[in-house]
């Protein structure tokens, strides 16, 4: 039995980075303010790394998202495994050329001669009153791009295990750190190893209804779970963990069993990743569904500032309970 340590997500990521850098001297870390001189990252996620591994491998950068991504891409092509922080997910917008046209496509366009084994760590999520330019879940954009994997963990142990896998993955991975998952300490085995990308986790088994979700929305689904159970509904909750490539097998097996699916994400519902999951389930299980697939996501607007509006923007546990009841008819 391995010992358990109580950690929150940020500590789990920090622990993964320390472990990865100690095990493999090809692992590099770069980003704005990430070295210890600059505080070890604005949330302390990279604290201690530059002191331990030196500022050649752990580099604070200018505020230059394109240059950060370019440096990571070039180093990755030359055999390194850079972990580049783009502080907030909204800031990926100013580096989209590097991410989408280059990191994601160089392996294909070069016919496999080059590859780009980098990780983009990026934080996001509503709930902090950071409004329209610091809160968006944009995982759907990246999931729509061939050649990059999208990881959205919810629990500390997954943060650690998935980060270890993302760093060793031979392809680019965007690793989304959802603000709504940050401050819930949880058990992480002291010997937590890599958790494979692309594998969902059934966090609660059930027979009436499947709920597919990830990142902060998984946390909210767990908050909704008791009320759903009280309503006499046996919900199976699947934490997707990796949004692309997503674990169709686990989701389809579950929906085949329950006949009902609710997909819930923090991202805007319109053209969101839930639509892809719903469409796939319809294509594969049409005759076996007991009702239409239901999607919950943010309204089609920017994440608002006012606390009441922001709360209304987020899919809340109560919304999930109501949707579950509706689905059961």
């Amino acid at each position: 039995m391995s010992e358990m340590e109580k950690m929150h997500a940020i500590q789990a990521i920090n622990s993964a980075l320390h472990q990865a850098m100690a095990e493999d001297d090809k692992v590099l870390v770069l980003g704005e303010d990430i070295a210890d001189k600059e505080g070890g990252g604005v949330t302390g996620t990279t604290a201690g790394l530059s002191t331990k591994f030196g500022t050649d491998r752990v580099k604070s950068t200018p505020i230059s998202e394109q240059a950060i991504m370019g440096a990571a891409i070039g180093a990755a092509m030359a055999g390194y495994k850079p972990v580049a922080e783009i502080m907030m997910m909204n800031f990926t917008t100013v580096a989209m050329d590097m991410i989408v046209n280059h990191a994601a496509k160089l392996r294909f366009m070069s016919g496999g001669q080059t590859n780009v084994p980098l990780v983009i760590r990026t934080m996001t999520g509503a709930g902090w009153q950071t409004a329209g330019q610091h809160s968006d879940f944009l995982e759907g954009w990246f999931a729509h791009t061939a050649g990059i994997k999208v990881v959205c963990p919810a629990f500390p142990a997954d943060y650690k295990g998935l980060m270890l896998s993302a760093i060793q993955d031979p392809d680019p991975v965007i690793f989304v750190e959802g603000g709504g998952t940050f401050f819930i300490p949880n058990d992480v085995p002291s010997d937590q190893g890599p958790i494979p990308l692309g594998k969902a986790n059934v966090v609660q088994e059930g027979t009436d209804l499947t709920i597919v979700t990830w990142s902060a929305q998984t946390v909210r689904a767990m908050m909704a779970a008791p009320a759903i159970a009280e309503a006499g509904i046996s919900a199976e909750i699947i934490d997707l963990r990796t949004v692309s490539p997503w674990d169709k097998e686990t989701v389809l097996a579950s929906v085949e069993k329950t006949g009902r699916l609710l997909v819930a994400h923090e991202a805007v519902r319109n053209f969101g990743p839930g639509a892809e999951i719903a469409a796939t389930v319809n294509e594969e299980l049409f005759g076996k569904l007991k009702g239409p697939v239901r999607r919950l996501g943010g309204p089609t607007c920017a994440v608002p500032f006012a606390k009441n509006l922001e709360t209304a923007f987020i899919v809340q546990p109560d919304d999930m309970v109501a949707a579950a009841k509706e689905l059961m008819g």
Binding site: A67, G74, A75, A78, M109, G111, T114, G147, D171
Partner: protein, 331 residues
């Protein structure tokens, strides 16, 4: 043009090598154009006719370990760097024997064995990635240098500014080689650029910057020698703005309406390729026979490459599922 003190001068062998690379570019391009005209190649082609001195002299200083990141007008840069022509031709013909299995095409040729790491169709994007390769060279403790090629128009995109700043702060072994051919697509340099010389922008990034006569092998040689020396000895990046002119417009089919007949004719009259050939003969560096035999062997190499490329197999549709990720996507 900026003068360098104690500028190193190319000797006869160096000039011959630069000429060989220029002629390889020109003979190869000539064949590409005639093959396109015959309808046997379908690709957008961005000619570099007139700009050959730049990559030929730059490549004279590079070895196979040194790397380049180039752009859509970059076939010249690969040919100058002695990339083998067969996989290049198979690639532009969209064949599976191509260096990228026909999945990149002329705008995305990659050939790591000769250091051709990235060819981008996005203006400005060669520079940030060159930095990363250079960072890796530094971490490796190697004296490898990286060249980022780009045009004058690319110095107006954000990536240029971010990349130069970072390269300077991190003292990266990168040489930023800007081919200033006075036009960005159809836009004249001065109508879109805030300074009269791009090299002045280097001042803002704390790195040496020079405006060089990009059609003059001596000037290119002197500045490239200094830039490579700086990069290899860990002193950091250099920006070389190499003045030149493209004779065949932006892309094949371009009607050149945005330039005057006079300026184009003047540039073509000063064609650096025959000028260097003449100099080699006049200065007794090479004989007519030697040059004729060089030309013949290059033409043979190009013809063989063309035949190889056009005879290649079309990539199978399975390639759509390969190289997206390391693992093939199941059918």
């Amino acid at each position: 043009m900026t003068e360098l003190s104690n500028a190193p001068k190319p000797d006869g062998e160096a000039l011959k090598d630069i000429y060989r690379r220029m002629l390889r570019i020109e003979r190869n391009e000539d064949e590409i154009l005639s093959t396109i005209r015959k309808g046997r190649l379908t690709m957008p082609y961005y000619s570099a006719r007139g700009q050959e001195v730049i990559p030929a002299t730059v490549s004279h200083f590079l070895n196979d370990e040194d790397q380049i990141c180039t752009i859509y007008r970059g076939v010249q840069d690969m040919v100058a760097k002695d990339m083998p022509l067969k996989p290049l031709w198979a690639e532009i013909a969209g064949r599976v024997e191509g260096t990228c299995k026909g999945k990149g095409g002329g705008m995305h040729i990659t050939h790591p064995e000769t250091g051709v790491m990235v060819t981008t169709g996005i203006v400005g994007s060669s520079m940030p990635i060159a930095n990363g390769l250079a960072w890796a060279a530094k971490l490796d403790g190697s004296d490898r240098v990286v060249v980022a090629y780009f045009g004058d128009g690319a110095s107006n995109i954000g990536a240029f500014h971010e990349a130069l700043n970072m390269a300077s702060v991190w003292k990266l072994p990168v040489i930023f080689v800007c081919a200033n051919n006075l036009f960005a697509e159809h836009t004249r340099y001065e109508d879109a650029t805030s300074v009269d010389q791009i090299s002045k922008r280097a001042i803002g990034y704390g790195m040496p910057g020079f405006t060089v006569d990009g059609n003059n092998p001596d000037d290119m040689y002197a500045h490239m020698a200094a830039a490579v020396e700086r990069a290899r000895s860990g002193e950091g990046p250099t920006l070389l703005e190499c003045m030149t002119f493209r004779f065949r417009g932006h892309v094949l089919g371009d009607d050149d309406k945005y330039m005057t007949k006079e300026e184009k004719e003047a540039a073509m009259a000063a064609d650096p390729l025959p000028a260097l050939r003449q100099r080699l003969v006049d200065d007794g560096i090479a004989t007519e026979e030697e040059l004729a035999s060089l030309q013949e062997s290059l033409e043979q190499e190009v013809a063989d490459a063309r035949d190889f490329g056009l005879a290649g197999e079309l990539p199978s549709e399975d390639e759509l599922r390969r190289d997206v990720f390391a693992e093939e996507i199941p059918a």
